[in-house]
């Protein structure tokens, strides 16, 4: 049987490629804001309970229960804020990019419902600075929603007020970390903050704040419309519902695929994305964005299940799946990821600020034939100052998860290609020694 997507969040934008982002099309063909209307007739606490019962887990990376996060807000402390994380930057993730450009009304509706549920009267949509078209469409959607009474004062006669501000980032990966995002929104460098206090207790301007990802909020209207029971009936175990997976790298059909959780990596990569291109064999794949430890061909029949991924010592993270064929040098991929983290380390915590640069430099020489015999062990040795124990789930000596991410790919190299790399380093070293002897 052919493998198929289960489209919920992407159903409308796929069905109307020409105008899905317009207010008219969204109202006429997608019942946009009908879930908001329903939600405004519910008790806020009932909405929180409903989303909790649906099992919806954050789609940004950490996979924390969305409704649970909302329930952490301290009682009777106001004002509260909602911050939407649209600063998509985890390498090879491009799902929020699509949702922003092609279904902005679904996001605005999710924002309004969530703000009502947590009783916030001001929400910020923090959009990655580089997303020019996405920001334009979200701003247009917000303007249209104001003009039609779905945002602003006394929404649909409910007495609930909500203002939404579209805010642009300016090029910075770590603003995608939830506390980094709040620092950035306050006009600071996007440096993450020590938790606790968690944003739910003290977030934006030290007020209770919920930070949710774009895809998470895009799912909320569907849960309100069709019920928690329906959503919880989709998926597998504690990974309920559907997720959008961004598949890229060396596949026939790179793209975003929304599938029911529990589908196998094989069905996603081979069935939907067309498999490794040009008939080549799969060497390895990264299952959850650059920060996720790697998986091998023998893992293809494992399910897309967040908790099963943890058992395999990796994660589904941001839902980005990078596929590499047999011709790829894992050391080159690892070095490029190291270079990324060295560039994006914000510099707040010493282990990450200093360590990420070291990892970049050592991997560069390893990948370019200049490695020393003990280089992999050298990396594992000083890397354990960032990730004590080097064992997933990663411990960390840094404030945010960028720290352990600097070592995630190194741990993967050692786990799956360790013997091969150690042999290669010895060979490269011997070759250089021989050349020196000849030259002298």
């Amino acid at each position: 049987m052919a493998v198929e997507e289960t489209r919920i969040v992407t159903k409308f934008l796929r069905a109307r490629e020409k105008d899905s982002w317009t207010f008219e099309a969204a109202r006429k063909h997608n019942k946009a804001y009908s879930a908001l209307e329903k939600a405004l007739g519910m008790e806020p606490a009932t909405i929180v309970a409903e989303v909790q019962a649906s099992g919806l887990r954050g789609r940004g990376g950490a996979g924390f229960g969305a409704g649970q996060k909302w329930s952490f807000l301290p009682k009777d402390v106001f004002p509260r804020y909602l911050a939407v994380n649209a600063d998509e930057g985890e390498p090879s993730t491009f799902k929020d990019h699509m949702l922003l450009e092609r279904d902005p009304h679904q996001i605005v509706e999710g924002v309004a419902i969530t703000a009502f549920a947590i009783q916030a009267h001001l929400a910020f949509i923090y959009i990655r600075g580089e997303f020019a078209l996405g920001a334009e469409r979200v701003q247009q959607a917000v303007d249209d929603a104001y003009a039609s009474g779905f945002l602003g004062k006394d929404i649909l006669g409910s007495g609930f007020d909500l203002d939404v501000v579209v805010h642009r980032g300016a090029g910075c990966y770590i603003a995608g970390d939830e506390t980094g995002l709040l620092s950035s929104l306050e006009g600071e460098r996007a440096m993450p903050r020590i938790k606790p206090p968690f944003p739910a207790a003290q977030g934006l301007y030290a007020a209770p704040t919920v930070v949710n990802n774009v895809e998470t909020l895009s799912t909320v209207p569907h849960i309100i419309r069709r019920g928690a029971k329906w959503y919880a009936g989709l998926g597998v175990n504690k990974s309920t519902g559907t997720r959008i997976f961004s598949v890229s790298g060396m596949v026939e059909r790179p793209g975003n695929y929304e599938v029911e959780l529990g589908m196998s990596f094989r069905d996603l990569i081979e069935g939907l994305a067309g498999g490794v291109r040009d008939g080549k064999a799969l060497k390895f794949f990264i299952p959850g964005g650059a920060s996720a430890p790697w998986l091998m061909p023998e893992h293809l029949d494992e399910p897309l299940d967040m908790d099963r991924a943890s058992e395999l010592k990796t994660m589904l993270g941001s839902g980005a799946i990078m596929v590499f064929d047999e011709t790829v040098d894992p050391l080159l991929i690892s070095w490029r990821l190291a270079k990324f983290y060295a560039h994006e380390s914000c510099g707040k915590c010493t282990p990450c600020r200093e360590g990420s640069g070291w990892i970049d430099k050592v991997l560069y020489r390893m990948a370019h034939g200049l490695g020393r015999p003990d280089d992999l062990d050298l990396l594992l040795d000083f890397g354990s100052n960032i990730v004590p124990g080097l064992n997933a789930p990663f411990a960390q000596t840094t404030i945010c998860a960028l720290g352990p991410s600097t070592m995630s790919h190194v741990v993967s190299l050692d786990r799956y290609f360790g013997a091969e790399i150690r042999r290669r380093l010895k060979r490269d070293h011997a070759k250089r020694n021989a050349l020196e002897v000849i030259a002298s």
Binding site: P79, E88, G89, E90, P91, S92, T93, F94, D96, H97, L122, R128, G129, E130, F131, A132, L133, A135, E136, Q139, D163, V165, V166, H167, R168, G169, A170, G171, C172, Y173, S184, L185, E186, G187, E188, R189, A190, Y205, S246, S248, G249, M250, P254, G255, N256, A290, A320, M322, F324, V328, L332, I333, R336, L337, F340, H343, E344, C346
Partner: protein, 172 residues
């Protein structure tokens, strides 16, 4: 260059959106950069005045973000991704080729960037933050030339363009 009356009105309107004025820092830096093509020291001082911050604080935030240029970069910013999904699809050679070609062109900045979230279009580049991909080196040059001739025009990052602001007198 100091903000004109229309620009100051626009700036105040942006500041008013936030409970704390300092939150308007990034939007105001975008506004200044959209006008001048880079963030001038004078702009930073003026923004500091508007937000009641020191210029050093403005510089401290500004220098953290890669989109803010603190020296003139020319009219076109060409951002080429070389992160892993682009790497296995020819991103690095696209970048090197364009960098060499425009090395002495003061009007075009070719920069290597981290993942810009369009890996289904790999190898992908942005021209003034508009996406183009997948592109070969030849196609990339062709697109750049279309921007140079004015056949393609990028959106402004700060949203409403200042020209529009001037026309409408700065109302939202």
């Amino acid at each position: 260059m100091a903000f004109t009356d229309a620009e100051s009105r626009r700036a105040k309107e942006i500041i008013a959106r936030y409970p704390h004025a300092k939150s308007a820092l990034l939007p105001l830096l975008h506004l200044a950069q959209d006008r001048d093509g880079w963030v001038t020291p004078e702009s930073m001082e003026e923004i500091a005045g508007l937000l009641d911050l020191t210029p050093a604080l403005v510089l401290g935030t500004c220098s953290f973000y890669t989109m803010f240029k603190r020296e003139p970069v020319g009219r076109l910013v060409v951002s080429v991704c070389t992160n892993v999904s682009c790497l296995v699809n020819g991103g690095p050679s696209l970048f090197e080729g364009l960098r060499a070609r425009y090395a002495s062109d003061e009007d075009v900045l070719v920069e290597e960037v981290e993942c810009i979230a369009a890996c289904d279009l790999a190898p992908v580049m942005q021209i003034n933050y508009e996406f183009h991909g997948p592109v070969t080196s030849e196609a990339a040059v062709d697109v750049i030339e279309q921007y140079q001739r004015g056949e393609l025009v990028a959106r402004s990052v700060s949203g409403t363009s200042l020209a529009e602001t001037a026309k409408t007198g700065g109302t939202a």
